[in-house]
Symmetry: C2
Subunit: 356 residues, 2 copies
């Protein structure tokens, strides 16, 4: 399912190929986020054109709306949203803990009020796996408990232990469903405690997943601490299994994480920045509303090959933003995602060339 | 510039070909509305794909934002918005009277506060023509005065006389600019008075425009009255010049107007309905949020060849709407515009077949 074709001599960076029922993905890869079954502001045709080959969606959101009955009748998520490439689905553990109200957690699962309609919901590790099998996800993630940052040691241990117990039950639920369908990854937690990161990685590794998500990072901690936790989380995992650093995708973090052996990234930042008027470029980001772009006839980023940069100027896109035109968000999203895809191309090129 | 290739034996309906510097348009044609230099929620590539070959934009809006300096620097409106087909620009007479504040009108022109930033503006017929020459419009419209509905006879006469006087000045301004560039149409006003409609048409015809806009209709009057005024407005105009029924585009009105010899239509309704969740179909329109579409896996309209109908279900698009996803507006806009384009194809086919 995952094959490493090239390893860096200078770091843990590697080039791999992830095979799924919906095609293969060259890694390291960035996954645009389509939380509710659409990458915001773009069509799947535009997504394909800008070079995306895997996207991420969210079980929690889709479970609540439109609901599994609708998605099942549609023939699964791929068919419903017209995306024929691979899809990784987050379990929604993070969302249950960040979005849902009246949350009550016990060893069995989590009870909460839907943020959509207030209805009472009960999710268990088993239900979350079954939901993802109905979605038809290529990569499934188990329900986990992500302790908030900062958390003390006791709270972190409790979340870790529950995450491990739920991981075991998730694996059993996946096994009951038999062969065929997507692969289940395990999620490493452990907060900001090295020894708990190590313990979580050891426990999760023992379960025998096809790959790993590294959870609970980039939640507000300093970057050095994140990298330290990342290193501890991954050093005892099998080298030849794919690893996803969940929710991390600041361009500056990606390269550092690749050097720690991370293969998959997802982040809402590039698309969210786009909708709020910030475009990515070599220097970081720029704000399109800035008056200096009023008569700037150059593309968002010189040399960029995206649809937006090939056809439109900063001055025009600025005008669209000031005039509250939806097209502004579409064009900026296309550009920002293309920047991320090009960044990953560049990273793979540098691994090949032995310079990363 | 305009060539009629086929006339109906049963009505004034005709098929024509309108030649412009940016390509030709088969008429009767529907022009998607791109008020601020973008047809809302779609890219020009999507617009082309759905079969649009001429669009309408608005001088008043573009004059205020992004302003002529920006558009001039961009190389004109076509280049700025990446639309290489014909563009007809409304003068903005209607917008000055409906959107602008602190309006003061005299024979010279109109003073108003910009609805964008409150700045004081002064527009004259000459400035409006010059603005459209900078935009590079293929069809220019003169500044006119559109009396509100209802208006009494005196107010309507005053608006009519000013419209004629401004039409003369617009024609002179266009002539001063020399050959090359777009054609100027004349606008017929006259409110809901048959005799004033006739008088306006006679006065405007005398000026020698390349085509005509019929203004001040579909402003709240009953349909029968609209058709009566339309008939009077057009019966004394040269048969072989193109005619645009300004702002009219309810599917049910278009066919009636075509029978009165109208060649061009524009209307914000199909795109506005789309953004508000109503999709057009053979029966009229349906509201996508309706619960009956929750598990409806059929396309918005059976048999429709648009991108949205070829790839997505009502259930999915309903989900996108309920989840406030931008893609919902894009997919609905593509469909509604395609319905309009197909309607015009059908009308031309029926004229050809002699059945309209």
């Amino acid at each position: 399912m995952f094959k490493i074709s090239r390893k860096s001599a200078r770091s843990k960076a590697r080039i791999g190929k992830l095979n799924t029922d919906h095609g293969e993905v060259l890694t390291p890869a960035f996954m645009p986020v389509g939380t509710q079954g659409t990458v915001k502001a773009v069509t799947p045709a535009q997504l394909r054109e800008l070079g995306a080959d895997i996207i991420l969606s969210n079980t929690y959101h889709l479970y609540l709306r439109p609901g599994l009955k609708v998605i099942k009748k549609a023939g699964g998520l791929h068919k419903m949203m017209d995306w024929d490439g691979p899809i990784l689905t987050d379990s929604g553990g993070y969302q249950v803990f960040s979005l849902a109200k009246l949350r009550k957690i016990d060893d069995g699962g989590v009870t909460f009020s839907s943020h959509v309609d207030g209805s009472k919901q009960y999710l268990t590790p088993e239900k979350v796996v079954e939901a993802q099998l109905i979605l038809g996800s290529d990569i499934l993630m188990p329900l986990d408990e992500c302790a908030p940052y900062p958390s003390d040691r006791n709270a972190t241990v409790r979340a870790l232990e529950r995450t491990t117990a739920w991981a075991v039950r998730s694996m059993e639920a996946r096994a009951r469903a038999g062969r065929g369908g997507g692969s289940l990854f395990g999620i490493v937690q452990g907060g900001m405690f090295k020894e708990l990161r190590k313990r979580s990685a050891d426990e999760i590794r023992e379960i025998g997943f096809n790959g790993y998500g590294i959870g609970g990072l980039s939640v507000g901690e300093p970057r050095d601490l994140m990298l330290e936790m990342l290193e501890t989380s991954t050093e005892n995992l099998e080298h030849d299994k794919p690893k996803h650093l969940m929710g991390v995708g600041y361009p500056e973090d990606i390269e550092l994480a690749v050097k720690h052996g991370i293969d998959l990234f997802d982040c809402v930042i590039p698309t969210r920045l786009a909708r709020h008027g910030a475009f990515l470029n070599a220097k970081g980001k720029s704000i399109i509303r800035n008056a200096k772009f009023e008569k700037d006839m150059s593309p968002l980023e010189r040399g960029c090959d995206c649809y937006s940069c090939q056809h439109f100027s900063r001055a025009y896109i600025r005008h669209l933003f000031l005039a509250n035109e939806i097209l502004a968000m579409t064009l900026m999203t296309i550009h920002n995602l293309r920047v991320m895809i090009r960044k990953m191309d560049d990273i793979r090129r540098r691994i090949s060339a032995g310079s990363l």
